[in-house]
Symmetry: C2
Subunit: 533 residues, 2 copies
Amino acid sequence: MNPRQRRAATAAVLAALVLAGCAPAVQNGATVSLAVVPAPASVAPGTGAPFRLTGDTAVAGDADASAALSLLITARTGLELKTSDDGSTDLRVESGGAPESYRIVADEASVTVVGADPAGLFYGVQTLGQLVQPDDDGWIVPAVEIEDAPRFAYRGVMLDVARHFHPVDTVKGLIDRAAGLKFNALHLHLTDDQGWRIHLDERPRLTELASATAVGGDPGGFYTKDDYREIVEYAASRHMIVVPELDMPSHTHAIGLAYPELVEEPVISAQVREDAELFDGDLPETGKPYDGMAVGFSSLRIHDEATYDFVADVFGELAAMTPGPYLHFGGDEALGTTDEDFALFVSRTSAIIADLGKTPVAWHEAGEASEIADSTVGQYWGYVQPTDGADEKARGFVRNGAQLIMSPADAIYLDMNYPTGPDLGLTWANGPTSVERAYDWDPGSVVSGIEEDDILGVEAPLWTETIRTAADIDTMVFPRIAAAAEAGWSPATGTSDLRTWESFRERVGALGPLWTSLGIGFHPSDEIPWVTE
Amino acid sequence: MNPRQRRAATAAVLAALVLAGCAPAVQNGATVSLAVVPAPASVAPGTGAPFRLTGDTAVAGDADASAALSLLITARTGLELKTSDDGSTDLRVESGGAPESYRIVADEASVTVVGADPAGLFYGVQTLGQLVQPDDDGWIVPAVEIEDAPRFAYRGVMLDVARHFHPVDTVKGLIDRAAGLKFNALHLHLTDDQGWRIHLDERPRLTELASATAVGGDPGGFYTKDDYREIVEYAASRHMIVVPELDMPSHTHAIGLAYPELVEEPVISAQVREDAELFDGDLPETGKPYDGMAVGFSSLRIHDEATYDFVADVFGELAAMTPGPYLHFGGDEALGTTDEDFALFVSRTSAIIADLGKTPVAWHEAGEASEIADSTVGQYWGYVQPTDGADEKARGFVRNGAQLIMSPADAIYLDMNYPTGPDLGLTWANGPTSVERAYDWDPGSVVSGIEEDDILGVEAPLWTETIRTAADIDTMVFPRIAAAAEAGWSPATGTSDLRTWESFRERVGALGPLWTSLGIGFHPSDEIPWVTE
């Protein structure tokens, strides 16, 4: 067939195709097919010439998609595409942006926020909210272009509801506050020596018998399954997951109130005695609620099968209640347990959680247990300058192929007392902790010998031995939580002139009016140049 | 302070801020703050005037994000934003596109594919692969703009590996083929009367004693846990989830080979006798592998607690192996079980799966069991024109607040014989089934009284009583799978001139050369005008 014949034949096919709604098109006098299966939602044929594939055609953009496209085109045409990122690209394949990323373009005429996904859009809105400011004539959004995406996938805040119980509305308030700073995980420390705070149908005696009290003789409390669901759903609406923790094998005195057969007698070490005297003088006693602040004296029975039946029951039920991927089993401060027994417990408990299809999380001590489930994420709570081999324990998780959450206690433990401020919080982690110290560290520089990819993210814990009310929480959390937000979200220290203490304190100061208008009772630290309008 | 004083003061602040790396900016002579916490990855201040918020400012776009932004701005400024979608919008908030969506822009100079997410990009690449075509001078991509997104979130293909076992490489081949048509779920029918095909450590006898044979005396087989993981990971790399099915309480003769105490004696009804004679004459016998094609004669013991220990064991282990949200427990053709017993089994089994944190899926018969777990998704396998109350059973899932997967047997059961074609497949579902019949139905019009939102998606099952090889699979699956792809992905019938049989057959015909170049041995149905180059 010569070209003229071909064109005539093509015209006949075209007529048939148009009738059939097959969206062919004439381009440069030739008919082209727009045959796609399944049919796209919208197809608009062009009128110009088609794009021509040759041996010089180059593809660039997303690596997986470039490779898939090259394979497909080579299979169909025999042509080998070139790979190019020098700007002379012909074929470009890209996704709409990294997860949770967004872009803001604001000028005199309009403001546009585009999120790569719903979470990215949510974060773009939070940023825009921070940009709104008054001038002499009213309210403005500065002309600006912002491209933004998180450094780490996991950005958490922890609330201890065991030492003091905090009601659902307080938890929701913390979710709102954290989400506004682009946190995406709420870690709930649900159990400790002082109380068990989550009702589980499989083990109802836990809340019946071990939830009524709290530190200092304060009243306790617990979440019903409906309460927990309400928290999970509220968090999800703010693009946060809930990471529930049932702390074991120590921090388990409360379990003994409900199931005495599962726990050992308290081990009253010199340290426990000293802690008890330091804080309030109470020593733990078998079968009685504990309302002091000592740690590490309790333990589940490591060599009793009933313990693992219990572990399977409570984490099994919790897994079904928790849509997020993580279940935290504690593993910290098992001071009365031998290394060998601790390793056995960690091995069996992490395996039970992994078998539930969840990713176990544990405090860094568990990283020295060689048989821990490979998927277990470690949460480092040592110091920014590691002591006592805490970094070596943390590296154990990385050697297994899993990642770390960075929570250095001397930097972002939100319960540490401020240098000048209210009489709230503790000081053991090199406290008092200034806002500057909370800011002046980088997650990539704490544990040596690991890569950026080995870090899942950052979490700021709030322990509540001294924290009793929502107002207490606001005071201790703000402004230091902003430092943790920046450690988790923003580029690494040194890669941007925004990532300095001087820039941070100015920017935090500028948020004062927004925080006030949102009802956040932040601590007016004298380290921050607070803006007042 | 008058404006001049204010400006002077501002200049001083500006100098301080610039030193602090706080990215302030001068816009129209005034200093503005660009204080964002946590610091964005990139901030480029504009030089023009800022955007001004007033009582006339309107916000449009994503509803949740608009609401969140309005709340924030009102909290900060007291201004109430208007809501606008008339194009005169000032503030626009939008996410990068629906999940799995993409956009292609091709002209003479370049081709760009932008996916809203990695899956969307993958699908855009598949579309682009289909658009590549020869002309007189070589290979082209037509000039075109395509906007595309799926109609339904779930688009599945099912492979029965119980009646005939199919090795991992065959499954991977099917994954590639289905993903190319924008399917995102592979349902594996892992167990039936003829064999149990997945090794589970909790119940190792299942594969030791009940996996060796298949229909017609063919050899059986099973997947190790590593095999299954390999399938799951390969599917994920093509943006597909795996939905594993352990069929119960009937279709369980093989379980009896391993655990005789769990099953009832076979119920040999007239129908079973007739089916056996029709196909091969074999009747099931207790304790012997079954290699015939009759159905509905077997049952687990409904009133024995050991049955539910078994259900908990096998689904518990499967849950931990399966990252996707769904576990399918069958529930079809329990012909020897009373309605009351069937309802009891469905209730307990669906609850066990829901308690594992997974979403149960069941064939539509289970929808008449009033106590089924509310989250259970129903899979409708009745006809396009429902008979025998199949649609009423399906509506049961919707009344519970869950959704349906549409798999009408007379349209998209891929194992139905072709009108003219190889001697493969069955005919019971009003077969032989033409490609036109496979195409000419709409998922929204099968079960009356439900809404579009009640449909999770579409799935095309391939039962394998007569399907023994990868070549058999290709022949039966292609081209009819393309009809299922279009039912699941494309806009509803009647909403686009592409969604007609005439358009579809032309477009499928144009894919012949691509399918051939990809090694797909499709059935060259005479209903399709196959293009040959």
